[in-house]
C-alpha cells in the first residue's frame, strides 16, 4: 500500500511538472476537439496541440482516414462535434460550400505572430484556414539503375518512358516504372497532376462547364496508358502505399509518389539493399513540352468550426498555433515539408520544394472539383484497363460529371 501511495504521489508530481512545462500555450479555458486525416505529420501536430491540456482545458484529437466523411455532419450540428478540422485543398471545399468554418482574421491578429503571410489561406479577403505543410506527388528514382542503363535523370514523361524502355531492354528490371493508378481517388489524382502540367484549365472560366475534352486531355491519357506497358501487370490494384512497397522491394526504379511518404521511403525500414542509398527525389515530370512539373501542389492546414463558442474557438486556435509552432517544426524537420517560420528543409522535402520552385500549380479549389475527381476516378478505369480508347474515356468522364453536377446543383 505504501508503495502504491508513493508511486501515486510521484506520478502526480510528474504530471504536475509536465503540466507546468507545457503551460506556455497560454490557453486558460475551453475545449479543443481536433479532427484530422491520419498520417505521421498530422499526428505530430495533434499530439503537440494536446500539450496545451490543463485542468480547465480539454484537448482531444481524432486522426482518421475517414475524416472527409465525418467533417460535414460533425461540423453541421450546433455545438459542433469538433472545434478544429484539419483540411487540405480539396477537403476545405465542402466546409466552405456549407459555411461551416469561421473567418480567423481577429484570432490571427491576436495570436498569430509566428505565422507567415503565405500560411494564410484567404478567401474573398478573409482568412479561412492556416496552412502548415505542403505536399504533392513527385519523382523518386534509383540513380544506380539509371546509370547502369545509361540514361540521364528524367525531366519529362517522355524521358521517363525512354528510361523505362532502356532499363527493361538492358534486363535490369522487369517493371521499371510505377504510378498509383488504382481506380478511385488515386487514379483521378494522377490525371489531375498531369493535366495541371499541360497548363490547361479544367473548367470553362467562371462556370462549372467541364473543359478537359481537348488535346491536353488526350495527351495526358496517352501518356498514362503508355506507362502501363512497362508497369507491373497488377498496376490497377496499386495505390500510393502499394507502389511504395514495390519500390522498397527493389522491383521499381522510377515512381511518381507522394512527398509525405518520402520520409518513410528514405528510412531503412522495409527497404531492400541499395534502395535507400541510391534514391533521388526530383520534381514531377513535365508533359506536352511544357516547363512546369505535372503535379498538383497541396497544402494541409487547420480550420476552426463556426458552430462553437468564441471561447472554444480561441482555445482551439491557440492550441493549434502551439501544435505547429516553430519549436515543434525545428525538432521534427524531417517529417514533412513544413511551411512554418524557421524551417530548414531536410532530404525528404527536396521533391515537393522542387515542384513548388518549378512552378507547379495548386490542386484546384472550385466548389465542383470534387465531382470531377469522383467522375475521373470511376470512368478512367476501363481506359487504363485497355478496354476503351482515350476519346471514349474523356466523353464518359464528361457525361458522368455532367450528371453529377446537375444533381449537385452546379449546372
Amino acid at each position: 500500500m505504501k508503495h502504491f501511495l508513493a508511486a501515486g504521489v510521484s506520478i502526480a508530481a510528474l504530471c504536475l511538472g509536465a503540466g507546468a512545462a507545457f503551460a506556455d500555450c497560454g490557453v486558460t479555458a475551453g475545449s479543443v476537439r481536433i479532427l484530422s486525416n491520419d498520417f505521421e505529420a498530422l499526428r505530430l501536430v495533434n499530439s503537440t496541440a494536446e500539450e496545451c491540456a490543463t485542468d480547465a482545458v480539454k484537448v482531444t484529437a481524432n486522426a482518421t482516414a475517414e475524416h472527409k466523411n465525418l467533417q460535414v455532419p460533425a461540423l453541421s450540428i450546433n455545438p459542433a462535434e469538433y472545434t478544429v478540422a484539419v483540411v487540405a485543398n480539396n477537403s476545405i471545399v465542402p466546409l466552405l460550400n456549407d459555411n461551416l468554418i469561421r473567418p480567423l482574421d481577429d484570432l490571427v491578429a491576436k495570436y498569430g505572430q509566428d505565422l507567415q503571410p503565405n500560411q494564410l489561406i484567404k478567401i474573398d479577403g478573409k482568412v479561412m484556414a492556416i496552412a502548415f505543410m505542403g505536399n504533392g506527388q513527385h519523382l523518386f528514382y534509383r540513380k544506380d539503375i539509371l546509370d547502369k542503363a545509361g540514361v540521364a535523370a528524367p525531366k519529362s514523361w517522355d524521358d521517363v518512358l525512354a528510361a523505362a524502355k532502356a532499363i527493361k531492354d538492358a534486363g535490369l528490371m522487369e517493371t521499371p516504372p510505377a504510378a498509383s493508378v488504382k481506380p478511385g481517388w488515386d487514379l483521378a489524382a494522377e490525371f489531375v497532376n498531369a493535366y495541371l502540367g499541360t497548363g490547361g484549365e479544367f473548367f470553362a472560366p467562371g462556370s462549372a462547364e467541364l473543359a478537359i475534352d481537348n488535346d491536353n486531355g488526350l495527351k495526358v491519357l496517352e501518356t498514362m496508358k503508355a506507362m502501363t506497358a512497362y508497369m507491373d501487370p497488377d498496376y490497377l490494384t496499386f495505390d500510393a502505399n502499394g507502389i511504395k512497397a514495390e519500390y522498397e522491394a527493389g522491383k521499381v526504379a522510377i515512381m511518381n509518389e507522394w512527398g509525405s511518404l518520402a520520409g518513410a521511403t528514405l528510412d531503412a525500414e522495409g527497404a531492400a539493399d541499395g534502395v535507400v542509398a541510391n534514391t533521388v527525389l526530383a520534381a514531377a515530370p513535365t508533359i506536352a513540352g511544357q516547363s512546369i512539373p505535372g503535379a498538383a501542389l497541396w497544402w494541409d492546414g487547420f480550420t476552426i468550426a463556426k458552430n462553437i463558442s468564441d471561447e472554444d474557438a480561441e482555445a482551439s486556435f491557440r492550441a493549434m498555433v502551439h501544435g505547429i509552432s516553430p519549436d515543434m517544426v525545428a525538432k521534427n524537420a524531417a517529417v514533412a515539408t513544413w511551411l512554418v517560420k524557421g524551417y530548414t528543409p531536410g532530404p525528404a522535402a527536396v521533391g515537393v520544394i522542387a515542384n513548388a520552385t518549378g512552378g507547379a500549380r495548386a490542386y484546384p479549389m472550385q466548389p465542383y472539383v470534387g465531382l470531377l475527381h469522383t467522375a475521373l476516378s470511376a470512368e478512367l478505369a476501363e481506359f487504363m484497363a485497355g478496354q476503351e480508347d482515350a476519346k471514349q474515356a474523356l466523353a464518359d468522364v464528361k457525361a458522368a460529371y455532367d450528371t453529377a453536377a446537375k444533381e449537385g446543383g452546379f449546372l
Binding site: 472527409k68 466523411n69 460535414v72 480539396n90 477537403s91 471545399v93 466552405l96 460550400n97 456549407d98 459555411n99 503565405n118 500560411q119 494564410l120 489561406i121 484567404k122 478567401i123 474573398d124 479577403g125 496552412a131 505542403g134 522487369e174 488504382k182 478511385g184 481517388w185 467562371g206 462556370s207 462549372a208 501487370p233 497488377d234 490497377l236 490494384t237 501542389l297 497544402w299 513548388a356 500549380r361 495548386a362 479549389m365 472550385q366 466548389p367 472539383v369 470534387g370 465531382l371 475527381h373 469522383t374 476516378s377 470511376a378 478505369a381 476501363e382 487504363m384 484497363a385 471514349q392 457525361a399 458522368a400 450528371t403 453529377a404 446537375k406 444533381e407 449537385g408 446543383g409 452546379f410
Partner: protein, 343 residues
C-alpha cells in the same frame, strides 16, 4: 392463439421493424426524388501558399443556406435521377438503339454505362454463386453426416470458418494469396510458366476470383441448413429404400433431395438476396476496374470528395426493386400455397 395475444407478442419486433427498416426505406425513397438546390456561385479572390492570389468561383454559402432553409430536402426532381446516365440511362439507351452497328456494338455501349456494368456483375454473381454454393454446401453436409462422430465437431468448425470470418477480411486473405508473390498466385505463374500472368489483371480472371470467393464464403450457410435438414430425414424410409436395393446415389436422389426441397427454396431465397448486395469482395480485391456492383455504386456516391445523396438513394431503391423481382417467383408460389391452405 387469439389475434390479440399474437399481436401483443410481435408488437416489440413490429415497432423495431418500422423504426429501423420501414422508416429509413421511406426516407431513402423520398430522398431519391430530390437533388441539390441550384448553387449560387460568386467569383472571389482566393489566396494560398502556392501560386498566390487568383480569382476563383465559390459557392455563396449564405444564399444557398437560405434556399435550404426554405426547402431542406432540395429541389424536387421526380424520377429525373432514376432516368439519368448514372442509373437507368434512358436517353443513352435510346441513342444506342437508334443508331448502332449491330448487337456487339449495342452490348459494348450498354456495358459502358455505369449502372448496367454494375448490374451485369451483380446478376452474374447472384446466379453463379447461389447454385454452386448450395451444391457445395449440400456435398459438405452429406460428407459430414457420414464421418465418425468423434471428428465431427472439429470438421464442422472448420467448414464454418468462411462464414465466421468477416467478409472484408476473408476477401483480403484470398486477395493476398492470389498476389503474384502469394501462394496461389506464384503457383499459377509456375504452372503456366508465365511471369506476367496475374489473377488480378484481366477482367475474366478477376471475375473468376470473385466468384470463387463468393462460393467459398457462401457454402457454409447452405451446409449448416442442409446438415440440420439431414438429421430430420426419416430413417425408416431410408432403410426401406436400402431393402429395395437403392444405391447411395438413388437414396440421395429419391429420398433425401425431395425431403430437403423446401429447405433448398429457403436457402436459395436468402442467398439470392445476400448475393445481390455483393460489396465487400470488390473492395477487398481492389477489383473496381473490372467489376462493380450496385452496392459498390452506392458506396462510391457516398464516399470521396463529393457526396451525392439523391443518386445513392436512387441506386438503393433500384437495388430493392431488383431484390423484389428476384424473389417474385418464390413469393408468388408461397402466396398461392398459403391461399390454397386457407381454402
Amino acid at each position: 392463439m387469439p389475434h390479440k395475444t399474437f399481436f401483443a407478442f410481435i408488437l416489440p419486433s413490429l415497432i423495431a421493424m418500422v423504426l429501423f427498416i420501414a422508416l429509413p426505406i421511406v426516407s431513402v425513397v423520398v430522398q431519391s426524388f430530390y437533388v441539390e438546390h441550384g448553387r449560387i456561385l460568386v467569383e472571389v479572390e482566393n489566396c494560398q501558399p502556392f501560386g498566390g492570389c487568383t480569382k476563383e468561383v465559390r459557392v455563396d454559402a449564405d444564399a444557398t443556406a437560405r434556399l435550404e432553409q426554405e426547402q431542406p430536402l432540395g429541389q424536387f426532381n421526380g424520377l429525373g435521377t432514376y432516368l439519368n446516365r448514372g442509373h437507368l440511362a434512358v436517353n443513352e439507351l435510346g441513342a444506342i438503339f437508334a443508331d448502332n452497328r449491330g448487337l456487339a456494338d449495342v452490348l459494348t455501349r450498354i456495358y459502358n454505362l455505369p449502372f448496367y456494368k454494375a448490374l451485369a456483375f451483380t446478376l452474374v454473381f447472384c446466379f453463379v454463386v447461389t447454385p454452386l454454393a448450395m451444391a457445395l454446401g449440400f456435398l459438405i453436409a452429406l460428407a459430414v453426416n457420414t464421418i465418425p462422430r468423434f471428428i465431427k465437431g472439429p470438421v464442422i468448425f472448420f467448414s464454418l470458418l468462411p462464414m465466421i470470418i468477416t467478409p472484408l477480411v476473408g476477401s483480403l486473405i484470398l486477395y493476398w494469396m492470389i498476389h503474384p508473390q502469394g501462394i496461389i498466385g506464384a503457383t499459377i505463374q509456375d504452372i503456366f510458366n508465365d511471369p506476367r500472368l496475374s489473377l488480378r489483371a484481366s477482367p475474366l480472371l478477376t471475375w473468376l476470383s470473385l466468384l470463387f470467393y463468393g462460393i467459398w464464403t457462401n457454402a457454409p450457410f447452405s451446409f449448416v441448413v442442409f446438415y440440420a435438414g439431414l438429421q430430420t430425414v426419416p430413417a425408416d424410409t431410408l432403410e426401406s429404400a436400402m431393402i429395395d436395393g437403392a444405391s447411395r446415389w438413388e437414396r440421395i436422389r429419391f429420398v433425401i433431395m425431395p425431403h430437403l426441397a423446401p429447405l433448398a427454396t429457403f436457402v436459395a431465397l436468402v442467398q439470392l438476396m445476400d448475393n445481390f448486395r455483393v460489396f465487400e469482395p470488390i473492395v477487398g480485391f481492389s477489383a473496381e476496374a473490372n467489376a462493380t456492383s450496385l452496392s459498390w455504386m452506392i458506396f462510391n456516391d457516398l464516399s470521396g470528395d463529393a457526396q451525392l445523396f439523391g443518386s445513392a438513394g436512387a441506386t438503393s431503391v433500384l437495388t430493392i426493386v431488383g431484390v423484389v423481382i428476384l424473389l417474385l417467383p418464390v413469393l408468388v408460389r408461397t402466396w398461392r400455397e398459403f391461399n390454397h391452405k386457407v381454402v
